[in-house]
Amino acid sequence: MTEVKLQNISKIYNGEETVKNLNLKVNKGEMISLLGPSGSGKTTTLKIIAGLVEAEKGRIFIDGKSVDHVPTQKRGAVIVFQDHRLFPHMTVGGNIEFGLRMQRVPKEIRRKKVQEMLKFVGLEAHGGKFPGEISGGQKQRVAIARGLIVSPKVLLLDEPFSSLDQRLKEEMRSFIVDIQRTLKITTILVSHDKEDALVTSSKIGVMFDGELIQYGTPEELYESPKSLEVARFFGEINEVPLIKTEEDVIHTVLGAFRKKGTLQGFEKGSKLLLRPEAVTLSKEGNDYSSDPGIPGKITNRIYAGEKTYYEVEVEGLRIKASVLGRGIWQVEDSVEIRTLEASLIVCRGKEADNTMGAHNEKE
């Protein structure tokens, strides 16, 4: 198992800094994701680790040893490309065998390993076919098998699910997670889709404009985003307007909260955020709870199968809420909104603009 460390990595393309002073540590056998919109520098970072792109500044360590001057051929960081890049003139078996040939592995052993690998990725019947003759999902498997067969120290996956339909995507995600858990290869996945990262990785690094904004566990990123950008990237969020803050109480449109628990870190410049699923709706006048509840009116309802999304008008503001399954509320219904202090997110940092009456921004 291998540890990967990036120290102050910077890359300039056409005068523009596409990766900015990036620091990252991936523990032995860990699978992490670099998440961000396109153009955020994540694929460049992956290529820098693979040795395909040279960084202007910074150092890369694999297992504690600097690999800055080790060419891609000898680095042991194998990349699986978004567009597969299978060699069209070689069969599936030939593609998988390629890395072993380059390592001058004897023919007999090569053949045996290719057969094992074909079986491992469930493509035993397709070894003799050409890349042009297999499906997109199968090509993806071949690309992964071609990378795995050389027993890389680090496996780098560049948007491995982007070209797949939803069903295949889910299948491939669990396939990759299974492989990673079985082989315990240190793996870095790059994606623009938060679900890819949440489902597969033990840690996620969010990148914007070449900068690694936050690196942590999926829970940390979802529940304690460092910036509004990160919070928004992980899905819909209500930005809770503040009325006033006192020494130990925060007054908001959704009620007053004591600065304890998750709100302890609230300070000047912070912003309160709330995920739609943390907003509960109940019938107006419901007095089961000691919490008084804020009256509101349903203005929009979107049924999405697993969930139903609502927009509730509260004192001229639209608060987003979501409930599991088919929600009972309809448009024009009067409801009461409640929220738990524990589910409020305190967002600090440069983006946390804390002006009175800030409105929710639509994604």
Binding site: L52, R101, Q103, F130, G132, R146
Partner: protein
């Protein structure tokens, strides 16, 4: 009544004026040549359709040595052009810089007419040419007559050189564009899996560009096999290249010789058809590769 698919007919209708002229000229010319090669030419009193002219042509020593000469010269010049063209393209594609001036210079011979190419080769490689004089000047030989004959020689060196000078840039042009797309897509993948320069060339570049190289090779071969001006100007009198032989028979004042010229032309046309078929075969294989991406 059968239903006519108007949409499918449309392009043919639009192109009819051009196609009709092309087909008219082509079929008339070809038909006329075939008839003449079979000895049918009523204008000069030849009415009997016969294969005798073919038989005689095949039996004559001039034809066989000419065929061999044409084949050898075309094969050697096209093969060398392919090897050198691919080599230059590979070397250039592996450079980080594009070298636009060098590329323009490399492509220059493509636009130079074959007649000019023949003249250049003559002035450089003939026994009274630049190299011969330079050799005398440098004291390698005493008189320019000692300079090895390359023009009008039976080995056809001058002809090969002229075709090589014209053909190499053509191969380079095709292969360079092809290799560039391979470069961006495949080199990263292959080198990341451990491939070095030699392996990249032999396992990735060469096999991927081979169908394109083959197509270009066939075009070069077909052209040099069928064209007459270079071997006419730089080639030997014996053996004569096949197109030169056909030309000489054609301009013979004795019109009854015309069927021999046409029979030779038909052989040239037959070889061309075979080459076109090979070209299509290579091209379809190349398309299959592209699809596999």
């Amino acid at each position: 009544m059968f239903k006519v698919n108007k949409r499918r007919l449309k392009p043919y209708i639009y192109l009819f004026p051009v196609i009709s002229i092309l087909l008219f000229v082509f079929t008339l010319g070809l038909g006329n040549s075939i008839m003449q090669s079979l000895g049918y030419r009523p204008g000069i009193g030849l009415y009997e359709v016969t294969l005798d002219y073919y038989r005689e042509v095949f039996r004559s020593g001039g034809f066989l040595s000419g065929l061999l000469f044409s084949f050898r010269v075309s094969l050697i010049s096209s093969l060398l052009a392919a090897v050198i063209g691919v080599g230059i393209a590979y070397l250039l594609v592996m450079q980080k810089k594009e070298w636009p001036v060098l590329q323009a210079l490399l492509k220059l011979p493509i636009i130079v007419p074959h007649l000019v190419a023949a003249f250049l080769i003559f002035t450089i490689f003939s026994q009274s040419g630049f190299l011969a004089r330079l050799s005398v000047l440098l004291g390698f030989i005493e008189t320019s007559r000692e300079f090895p004959p390359m023009i009008f020689d039976t080995r056809g060196i001058g002809v090969i050189l002229a075709y090589l000078w014209k053909g190499t840039p053509f191969i380079f042009l095709i292969v360079y564009q092809l290799l560039r797309t391979i470069e961006t897509e495949m080199v990263e993948a292959a080198s990341n899996l451990g491939a070095g320069g030699k392996e990249l060339f032999f396992r990735i570049f060469l096999p991927l560009s081979l169908p394109g190289v083959f197509s270009a090779f066939i075009i070069l071969f077909a052209f040099s096999f069928g064209s007459y001006e270079i071997p006419f100007l730089l080639g030997p009198t014996v053996p004569r290249a096949l197109p030169v032989l056909a030309y000489v028979e054609y301009i013979n004042p004795d019109w009854t010789n015309r069927p021999y010229a046409m029979a030779i032309n038909m052989v040239l046309a037959g070889v061309s058809v075979l080459l076109v078929w090979m070209y299509h075969w290579a091209f379809s294989r190349y398309q299959q590769f592209r699809k596999g991406h």
